[in-house]
Symmetry: C2
Subunit: 447 residues, 2 copies
């Protein structure tokens, strides 16, 4: 019998604040970070190498160590687990981790212990994909409707989606699955770019990056807004000038407004023909988003990257609060919660456009969107996954974007393994980057 034999947890931080990558109206100086979980086993994978699983969650710097402490406590409960049984019943592994009522009290199902749960379960999913010799999107897409519903956490959701409804929905997509897999492998999954629009970038850099995005074939561009209305109008004008009238322009306020302020500000940008306003207010404010949505239509409302669990998404859908559902693979309790959200979104007819960027989020969300297309919603229509072109070089199976579409991953797992050298270099605070090169980098940035 092969078992999970050990756990390692790394606090990895990248100095993104030095270049204002990732800067927005709420978060001016994030250092993109990951709590990186490795589960080792004494099993051998289909390719003959030792089987391991790698997972992570994303934070923006300070406090990454707090999440690491939580991840260690959760991950250590997996040591000794039979590998075949674990990957054969991923719903049970998830329920085991979430049924500790003492840890649950710290959320429940939110904040640090939910971020750490995501990191740990993402590693379990990576392990499952490698064990099966399949990329995770394909592992999920190949499941029967019953198997897929069994991994989903449907607790608290039955007033919006029953198990039977979920099964019917999946069964209805069965006939077209093979065709959609072929389409996906040929064409990939459409994405949009945020790389152009960070708030800390100069107007010249914004113009140049928008032009590059157009040249690379992107049909959607997203800008950060919310610091200064007049400057937002200027930035939208620059973007619209470059991308022309046919490409889509989205804006993202990162939660800086109260409800009435959001309505006023967004409507003051309405002449730039915006597809969506993202995170206009507190991510907890379901009713506030519903109010904003009514008042800014036809501009759509998008939120979800801080949606901390499936119950929040249930309400966003029930309240008619969103036009675009933006799940996050580092914040929800891994695919067990995400599949539940995909199912609800499909029932309510709301497109899922995952949040990405950060560290490793692009690597993961491509699997989610592909699963959604192949097995759940059955559609790519009106859907785009986020893509931000940062930090992919630290992954052993980095996402590949071609002609503004994620290319379907073919390697086994969840694309979540980092290069050992990257982890060693950026481990905080003792990695070689932090001890040997950071001081110079700061000096150069202040230049």
């Amino acid at each position: 019998m092969a078992t999970i034999t050990g756990v390692s947890i790394d606090d990895v931080r990248f100095p993104t604040s030095l270049s204002a990558d990732g800067s927005d109206a709420m978060n001016k100086d994030g250092d993109y970070s990951a709590v990186y979980v490795t589960l080792t086993t004494d099993a051998v994978g289909p390719d003959g190498t030792p089987l391991a699983g790698h997972g992570l969650t994303f934070t923006i710097g300070r406090g990454n160590d707090i999440v690491a402490v939580a991840a260690r406590q959760q991950a250590e409960t997996l040591v000794g687990l039979d590998v075949d049984r674990a990957v054969g019943d991923l719903g049970a592994v998830y329920r085991g981790l979430t049924s500790d009522s003492q840890i649950r009290w710290l959320g429940p199902e939110k904040g640090v212990v939910q971020l750490s749960l995501a990191a740990v379960m993402n590693a379990v999913w990576d392990l499952a994909g490698r064990h099966a010799g399949k990329p995770v999107w394909r592992l999920l897409a190949d499941m029967t409707p019953e198997q897929l519903v069994d991994v989903a956490d449907l607790r608290y959701l039955s007033d919006a989606l029953t198990r039977e409804e979920a099964l019917e929905l999946l069964r209805a997509q069965e006939p077209g699955k093979a065709g959609r897999i072929a389409e996906l492998e040929a064409e990939g999954y459409p994405c949009y770019t945020t790389s152009a629009g960070w708030l800390g970038y100069s107007d010249e850099k914004l113009r140049r990056l928008c032009q590059e995005a157009v040249d690379e074939g992107y049909g959607h561009i997203k800008l950060k807004v919310g610091a200064d209305l007049e400057h937002d109008r200027l930035r939208c004008q620059i973007a619209r000038d470059v991308i022309g009238p046919d490409r889509k322009l989205m804006i993202d306020a990162n939660q800086v407004w109260d409800v009435d302020q959001a309505i006023e500000w967004v409507n003051a940008l309405a002449d730039f023909d915006l597809l969506w306003i993202e995170e206009p207010t507190s991510p907890d404010d379901v009713l506030g988003h519903a109010t904003i949505r009514k008042a800014v239509a036809p501009i759509g409302v998008a939120t979800g990257e801080h949606g901390h669990n499936r119950v929040m998404f249930k309400q966003l859908l029930q309240a008619g609060a969103i036009d675009y559902c933006q799940i996050d693979t580092g914040r929800l309790g891994s695919l067990n919660e995400i599949v539940a959200v995909l199912l609800m979104a499909a029932k309510f007819g709301v497109p899922v456009c995952p949040h990405a960027g950060g560290v490793g989020l692009c690597e993961m969300v491509q699997h989610v969107s592909m699963l959604d297309f192949v097995a759940v919603s059955g559609s790519r229509e009106g859907r785009v996954a986020e893509f931000v072109d940062h930090l992919h070089e630290h992954f052993t199976d980095p996402c590949v974007v071609d002609s503004a579409a994620y290319v379907a991953p073919t390697r086994p797992g969840y694309s979540t393994e980092m290069h050992a050298a990257s982890v060693a270099d950026y481990r905080w605070p003792q990695g070689t980057y932090w001890t040997e090169r950071h001081a110079d980098a700061v000096a150069a940035a202040r230049g």
Copy 2:
């Protein structure tokens, strides 16, 4: 100039799981715990002793150390702060702690970093009370409407309560304040007891404790329910037999049901004339609570002990989801958020009946309810604060209940200081209880 000179953080755990104290349908074996924060200063208080502040948050065991790590990071940012300036602008101290965008990402405003914020800000409020030589309820009640609104965090609330509305509401209560303070000092603030109704207690123990509660003058009794419907009917019958038809009976399901299941279960207990059902489903499910409330009326719906921030309470009020608003002093971001919730509840006409029990929650909520009566809602009508008779012996200024009412605290501070000996004894894992007596206690509990 006197400053905050140091911070100590203690992980304190009590072995309550051995006696099933605190057991409910979700939490069967909690070890009541506290992250205990002490802020030292080089100032001298009005009584001539060194000035310090003590605060805490409550958890139920494992993971208390995770909250401690977060509390240390937040509290250490206060070292060096001018004491007079800090206590003179408690809103600014709170905003300082909550404006770290990297830490904010870990919530935002929820979970571990919100629990730790509560512990730290509770210590600051204790310090402020001691500095002024007043119990915290009185420190707050003596503030002008402008001062009180200035400590409240109104961000994201303006669609429910504007600053001007908050001021008007407080100004309207000014004339009666002195009279209510006198009433409070004479009569105390009404409370109810949960000590009788833990789910792990035998039926005989339930009957005996209900009788004791009646003998002590309680007009309200609360039972835990949700494990077994037939047994819940029996337990309600026992309680109703003992307390008679006129006293109030409440039930608490601790989040175990889905929405439809909650409706069915509660209605199956309706013939016991219940005042409220508490936490029928996920604490995040505002819309679910609203649905349940409509379907179980005239039984009221109570929730809030896991309401993680003011935005959740705003929505519970806007959606008409609750009849009773149960704030928690260890979960909300201390009095800065609580005052905002009290103001909204007063505007919406919903009584605030704080959650208590745990470790130190009773000590704190008495201050909250007294503030609410004196300065915000102006009423005790239909309001009861929770009281659970456990663990008060560990506090230097324990709450006192007389004739089913909290006696107004008179000593300066927030009643949050623990005996140094208790901290030393129950500090986890190295305190003398855990190293020397726990093994025997486990053996004794197992009989």
